[in-house]
Every structure is written in C-alpha cells, then in structure tokens.
C-alpha cells in the first residue's frame, strides 16, 4: 500500500512538474491530452456506464466551443460569464436532443445522435455571418482569470486546464459511485429489472445524457481556449468517432480507462502524423488490434495481466 501511495504521489508530482521540463510544443500536447481525457470521460458516462453508444458527442463539445468563442469575440464577455454561458447552451442542446434520442436504443440511438450532431455541424458550416463557415472563428483569446492574471502563457494555461479537469474528474468519480451511478449501471445491465424495481429509466437516461453533454461542453470550452480557434471540425462526426475510440481503447465503464485512451490516441496521432498523412489508417489498425486482443480496452488488458501474474 505505501508503494501504491508513493506511485500516486510521484505521478501527481510529475504531472505538476511538466511545465518545468517540457518545451512549448510538448506542453501543448500534454494540455490537449488532459482536455481530451475529460471529453472521453464525459462520453464514458453514456457508453460505459449506461450502455448508450453515442456517435454525436462532438455536438456538445463544439457547440460550447463556438459559444465561448463568440461570446468572447463578439460580446467581449470575460471567462466567468462566457464559460457558464457556453455550458448552458450545450446543456440546453443536450436536453432538447436528449428528449429525442433517449426514446431510442442501440444502433438507432447511435444513428440519431449522429444525425443531430451533424445538424449542428451543418449550421456551423453554413451560417457564415455568425460562425465564419468553414474558416471558423480565428483569434479567440485565452481569458484573463482576473485583472492581471492572464492565461496567455502556456504553463499558466496548462495549470488552469489541469485544475478544471481535476475538479471535473473528482465530480465524475463521485457521480459514478453514487446511487445514481449504480442506477446507470443497472440500466446498462437490465432495463427491464430497473423498471420492475420502480426506477424511472427514461428520466435517468435523459439526465445522464445531459450531464454527459455538460462535461463534453466543459472540454470544448477548454479546447477553444487552448487552440485559440474553433471551426466546424470541432463538431464533425470524425471528432465524435475519435473520442468514441478513446473510450473503447481505454476501457469503457472505468472513467480512468477512457482518460488513458485519450492520452494514447493523442500521442499516437502526434507521432503518426509526423510521418504520414494517413495516420487515420494507423489508428484504424490500433482499433482492430484492441477489438481482437483486448476487448475490454487497455484497463481490461492490464487487469487480466495482473491477475494472470498473481494467479500463477
């Protein structure tokens, strides 16, 4: 146990020390990993815990990113107004879309979440006067937390992201350990039984859809500040598929797995894209290997390996 504690302490120290040892490029990569970890965990609530496979998670990520960008650029709102505003817009969208989508299950749910997110993508792409169309919104400023405390520097922004994601992660872990979190697992395992026990399954499914959208939105706002830019790509199905892959690669239903999946995929994309433009192919091969060799994802594989060793 002390060894485990020491490992945790060392890990946290290393994460905190990153800005001291990494150059701007790799610090940026680390920031991106952390933001994507949150994005992937948000989707894990749906897929891993409740068994609702969505292919439209980018809608809430991108919508919040656009809203935060527009509120800062057009209205000059500061971060403490723009951030809640952006989250609110995504939550309302998740509520409206959720009312439709949660009436369906399985592949129908997948298709309708995909269709709804493509709708948002279409609006962002087509409404040039508001969104800049395919050019997106350039020069979104990184916010000042308060007067004279800017997040412009990469290390300040890194710590800002780290703090927000750490808080969000804490809340997510509390959420999945609560009776609500177990009810989600119950719905995943047997909706029939949940109904027979007296759970209003539809309300739970809608609620988790909105909560999941909220955390995706938080990741989206961080990401627009990170990139200082937002374009329709943020909303595209490819983005939804990418984060879905992170969840599956890392191990759905564990929270920590999708976070690891995010780190691995972001790293892989970075390495692979340096050598080839067809890095999606490499991601595809990785995905097939995971599906064949580690259907429970990396965390499942790790668990099996450890059990195998102690069992021997």
């Amino acid at each position: 146990m002390p060894l485990k504690l020491a490992a945790w302490a060392a890990g946290i120290a290393a994460i905190l020390a990153l800005p001291l040892v990494l150059g701007p490029y790799y610090l940026g990569l680390a920031t991106k990993m952390i933001i994507y970890a949150l994005f992937a965990m948000s989707l894990d609530l749906l897929i891993g815990f409740t068994g609702m496979a969505s292919l439209g998670q980018a809608a809430y990520f991108g919508l919040a990113a656009y809203t935060a960008g527009l509120l800062a650029l057009r209205l000059g709102w500061n971060v403490w107004a723009a951030l809640p505003g952006a989250l609110l817009v995504s939550v309302l969208a998740a509520l409206a879309f959720g009312l439709l989508a949660t009436r369906t299950r399985g592949s129908y749910f997948l298709m309708i979440t995909l269709a709804l997110s493509q709708l948002v993508w279409g609006i962002a792409f087509g409404w040039r006067s508001l969104t800049g169309g395919s050019d997106g919104l350039p020069a979104v400023p990184r916010p000042d937390l308060m007067p004279f405390v800017s997040l412009e520097s990469d290390s300040a922004f890194y710590y800002f992201v780290l703090l927000i994601v750490a808080l969000a992660t804490f809340i997510l872990f509390r959420l999945v350990a609560s009776p609500f979190g177990y009810a989600l697992r119950g719905i995943r395992e047997s909706e029939t039984r949940m109904l027979a026990l007296g759970y209003n399954v539809r309300r739970y499914r809608l609620l988790v859809f909105v909560i999941s959208g909220l955390f995706a939105a938080l990741a989206g706002v961080l990401y627009v500040y990170f990139n200082r830019f937002v374009s329709p790509d943020y909303l595209h199905v490819e983005r939804s598929a990418e984060v879905l892959l992170m969840v599956i690669l890392g191990g759905a239903g564990t929270l920590i797995g999708p976070a690891i999946g995010a780190v691995v995929i972001v790293a892989l994309e970075d390495v692979a894209s340096a050598y080839t433009e067809r890095w999606l192919m490499i991601i595809g091969v990785v995905y097939m290997l995971v599906a064949l060799l580690a259907p429970d994802g990396l965390t499942g594989l790790f668990k099996r390996l450890r059990r195998g060793r102690t069992g021997a």
Partner: protein
C-alpha cells in the same frame, strides 16, 4: 376489492391474438396459480400486468386503481413486483450491489448523485441482512453473472421481495432448478407473508398445487376454467388440454 384484476384484457401482436378477453380477479392474500400449456399466454399476461407490454384492449386494476396505461415503474411503486422466467439480474454488478439497487428503489429511489452508494450504512447493512437471511452471504461480492443458475433464481426472487410488495408475480420460479433447489425455493415461497398477494405461473404441479388456493387454467390466450385446486384436478377439460399432456 380484489388485489389485482383484469377486465376483458386482449393483446394483439401484429394480428396474432396472444390474449383474448382475459378476466381474472386475484384476491388479497391469495396464492393464485396460472397454469396452461406453452403458448397459452401466461407470460404475456404477466408482461401486461407488470406493464412491459401495453394492452390492446381491456382494463387492469391494482387495488382498485386503474393501472392500464401506467408505465412499469409506477406500477412497481404502487406495490407490484415480479420475477422473470429468464432471470433479470445486473450481471456485471456484485450480488450485494444488485440488492442495494433494489433497496435504494424500495426506499423511494431518490436521485442522489453525490453521496457514494457504498458509504450508505443503512443500505450496506440492509443488503447484508437480506443476503444473510437468504443464506447467500458467501456470494455477496461475486458478480451476478458468475453465480450458479439456482443462485441466480434465488437472487431474482430476492430482488422482487426487497421492496416488500403487496402483490407479487412469480413467473416459473422453479424452472430449471435441481430437486434440492426446488425444495429451497418452494420453502421460500411458502414462507412469504400471508397478507402478500401472490400470482404464480408454475409448471411443477407438485409444487404449484401444494401451494395454491386458487387456480386459473389458460389455453390459447383464453381463460378456460377457474376454481380451487380440487375442482381443477377433477376437471375433465383441464385434464384433456393440459394435464393429459404430461
């Protein structure tokens, strides 16, 4: 007032008449048995009573209250519970977590999103007590999909009873059990509180007739005859369509 009553209930599945004009009254505290050959519509009736299927026509009453169009979870909250012919457990959760989810629902199932479920002493203690009473403490921490079939049946029944329902629907509780397990489940059913109303589908006639005080015989989606055990035993029509087959 009957505990549970159906009035002329019918069910169509795309033109196939699965239930036709079924009227049954289950009295308070009854041990009411439904028998009939395969395809008689017994499980369909159960699914309609619990709200899984909607009725094509007719009316269903629980304690005199019209529940025909209520969703399953509201029927559960009115005191109705059921077991499943094909066990419905939370497979990848532990047996104790299964019971805790049932207990949480029985306590009103409030939407608590922050306090950990396993930090709730009442819930933990309640689940432990329940498992001890059913002599299943030794499998408390096992995932529900790793326990034996007999144990799954017991947990399935236990989940239905956690909420202390006033009306219990048992769908073939002893199906597929070993002789020893049948005795065990039969004992559990016999020890149910007398004021609990029980409606049961059962194929094992020794168990069923020993337990029931009222029997409804169904065939091809219709009620053929209803009466006490002795009357059903001696009914020629019943012998012809059902008992004669065994």
């Amino acid at each position: 007032m009957s505990a549970l009553q159906t009035v002329g209930v019918s069910k169509n599945f795309g033109g196939v008449l699965a239930l036709s004009d079924v009227s049954i009254a289950v009295e308070k505290g009854a041990r009411h048995l439904i028998i009939g050959p395969n395809g008689a519509g017994k499980t369909t009736l159960f699914n309609m009573l619990s709200g899984t299927f909607s009725a094509s026509s007719g009316q269903m009453l629980l304690w005199g209250k019209d529940i025909t169009s209520l969703p399953p979870y509201e029927r559960a909250r009115l005191g109705m519970a059921r077991t499943f012919q094909i066990t419905q457990l939370f497979s990848r959760l532990s047996v104790s977590e299964n019971v805790m989810l049932a207990l949480h629902a029985a306590r009103g199932g409030d939407l608590s999103v922050y306090r950990p479920m396993k930090g709730d002493r009442l819930l933990l203690q309640g689940a432990a007590d329940m498992l001890a009473r059913w002599e299943l403490s030794h499998i408390a921490d096992q995932a529900a999909n790793t326990i034996s079939y007999g144990q799954k049946r017991q947990v399935d029944l236990m989940l239905a009873l956690v909420g202390q329902p006033s009306v219990l629907l048992l769908d073939e509780p002893t199906a597929g059990l070993s002789a020893a397990e049948v005795v065990r489940v039969a004992d559990m059913i016999r020890s149910l509180p007398r004021d609990m109303t029980v409606l049961m589908i059962e194929h094992d006639m020794d168990i069923a007739f020993g337990f029931a005080d009222r029997v409804t015989v169904m065939n091809q989606g219709q009620v053929i005859v209803e009466g006490d055990v002795a009357a059903i035993r001696n009914n020629a029509e019943v012998a012809a369509i059902y008992l004669g087959e065994d």
